[in-house]
Amino acid sequence: MPGQDGLWYKDAVIYQVHVRAFYDSSGDGNGDFRGLAQKLDYLQDLGINAIWLMPFFPSPLRDDGYDISDYRSVNPTYGTLDDFKAFLAAAHQRNIRVIIEMVLNHTSDQHPWFQESRSSRDNLKRDWYVWSDTDSKYKGTRIIFLDTELSNWAWDPVSKQYYWHRFFGHQPDLNYDNPQVRDEMWSIMKFWLEMGVDGFRLDAVPYLLEREGTNCENLPETHGVIRELRARVDKEFPGRMLLAEANQWPADLSAYFGSGDEFHMAFHFPLMPRMFMGVKLEDRKPITEILKQTPSIPDPCQWCLFLRNHDELTLEMVTDMERDYMYDEYAKEKGMRLNLGIRRRLAPLLDNDRRKIELMNGMLMSLPGTPIIYYGDEIGMGDNVNLGDRNGVRTPMQWSGGWNGGFSEADPEMLYSPLMLNPVYGYQVINVYSQKRFDHSLLSWMKRLIRIKKTNPVLGRGSIEFLYPANHRVLAYTRKLGNETILVVNNLSSKAQAVELDLKNYRGNILVEMFGRNIFPRIGELPYLLTLGPYQFYWFRLRRI
């Protein structure tokens, strides 16, 4: 039975949040765990049932916390370990699970391990990182942060060798060929699991291991490490979940599920830019094609779907022609482009068009996978492209139209990031308080959407079958689980459309529209004619009476 079979993540609606950006209870200009705990009621009301926290470990914050200098503690800016435990308990009380980050691939160069490792070539922890005399090893490995890094090797002036880093130069890669490293990382994960954390998002997993003559991604050895971790989790903490962050093509991605013995979930990276492409092209082709190319995964496993996140909207997994198109359509200003991606939030990407936002969220909730909502997107927050790196999409949560948007009582100048101020996306216009008052606000609509999603497990767990109506502007598919069938019809076009669906296999069913619960005509012999307004979508339950 859903919810009781240990596969809770298949029914989850995940909320991605950065503790620093959510709510400041201490008045120092930074969000903290006590503040986050205070806002759990809001999240419960929204309807989400899992939170994914971005890294909150001690860190020099040169990569927004993904450069970790202490794995078993909490960054004092966000509170103490006890604050975290209190938050965890409060979340569990509200039946909200908590997923935290675990950056396996690399640490900060400020981490004591690296400080030791680099101190001399004979140090005991020397082998915890990947060192080399030359920077010509592992040639052909692509650079991920193209805008800032010129090489995957960095010269260490202290020990006079090169060290390997797939990300920023200040994030040296750990050496997973060293069993000590593997044991230590497990011990860290165990630390958090024992505390009660429900799962980990494992960052940058494709890059754990390197081998000469390969592209150093998705190596079998890497999968070996993951299987080992998974086995340990299953043995000692059954029911906890591992989520892979692997920005790869579907064929490579599905490898991370193994045969059900690696990750429970993985982000479907290639789908996300194609959803945006489909809406802009007004053509379902990019979406159906990528899903056709997506191999099936083991039964207990699940894709994770998202529209936006804390990173840039990545265009790594598209062709050059598609990337150029996305740049020209979605990132007209060069400043919006970063590292083969686009650093904008959902609402600005969709021209703040309410209908488009609803359509995209509707697809997010109805395509096969677990949806993740990025904090602030439920109220339609905007972005600030003038902030460096990806910080434009990490501005403070907008709670009200008052002081600091209700985020903090500190002086505005003390905030970790400037607030959104413009008349379109500013906190006076876009905030939780005002949207709560109206039934027609985006927030209220999102709540309804999430409620319908949660009450229909077929959306989380069911199979998918695409209908291919001749009108290519309409994306239509059925979701099936047991006796339940849901028909989803999406109009990707900005103009009204008529579409005829071949529903012969479902002849005799009455369609019940799931938002209003009104009935639509019964399916007969002839193609089923539907008309849709601009960007409109339908969810129909098929009922046979």
Partner: protein, 422 residues
Amino acid sequence: MPEGSILSDDFIRELINVGEVDIVVGVPTHNDARTVGQVVQAVRAGLLKYFPRERTAIVNADGGSRDHTQDLIRAASISDLNVASNVHALRTLHSISTQYPGGQSSGAALHTILAAADLLQAKACAVVSPDSTSLDPEWVERLLRPLLRDGKDLILPVYRRHKFDGLLIRNLVYPMTRAVYGCPVREPYPADYAFSASLGSQLLAQDIWTQEQGRTGTELWMALTAIVNRCKLAQAFLGTKARKEDAPADLVKAMRETAGTIFLSLDSYYSAWSSPREPLEAPCIGCQPTVSLEPTRLNRKRLYDMFKFGVSELEPVFFSILSTATHEELKRLAGMSEDDFSYSADLWARTVYEFAGAYHKAVIGRDHVVQALVPLFRGRAFTFLTENRDTSAEQVENNLDALCQSFEREKPHLLEQWAERK
């Protein structure tokens, strides 16, 4: 299908599925399975290469093919249902086909394509001939780019053709269009061309579709309409024109389509050509030398014989049509030997104009007027072939120019014909 409609219900349904597009490429066919597959693939390649982001569709108007012409067209679709692994397209490309009623007719095919382009709100529409086997993807770009980028209304083709190919166009249609309508377009009766949405709507709204010019010679009518309405014309150089390989030319049919259409247009557009007007420019984009000189097999003597035969046998008919002077001149010409024979440009221009006048006043049945011109044209063709037998490409062009000037010089004669016949 409802009465009087050229679009069937099924086709309308297909158009709904195609939806709004930026570009339509129309292909009129009738039993063209031998060549249309290649043509449509080249068109598709052109669209993918030069217009990858535009919404495009290929629309086939078929006159009742019994071979698998329509299947070949439909096979060019690109969709998420039938993606070939070697085709990389950003978007879906619909390639749809319909059969228009009433049997094969180029006018009905054009009507169907116009209607489809209009319903699909296409900004630009190109039409290509299903036997243009020399079509390469660049043609698509050359025909459509000036419409989309430069705001042109009609793009007519310019081909590299053998100097003796298209004699009727060279000796009658082109000179008349240039002299009477003041627009020097080389191919006023095009097989491959493109037009803008606004010109398309204008044509669609005209009341010609149930009449003769809506069934044959419609492309020529379209070009003349565009010229008369002072639309923005341009010519695009397309390269070598593929030669038709089967069915020998039916000159009577060709004469009906060309002379018949032009003569009819003189009635409708009298106010446009009868008063002096600024000549309409039609710049040529990417033009190169258009005359090729390979040796080719021709039966010249037959032309001479048929001219003589026609002049003698059709004397009572010519009596009704031509002025006495011209008629006498032709009889004298018919008495000449093959070596001395020369149907001068001036005489030919006068002949054509007098026929136009006779057509206008319907001194005999109009179709008979047009048919009677055929043997005389053969005489003119004979002279053209003789004059240009051993000439260079440049000389051919000069001779053609001289012919056009004759037509221009004799234009007052045409006006006289109109006045006296009135």
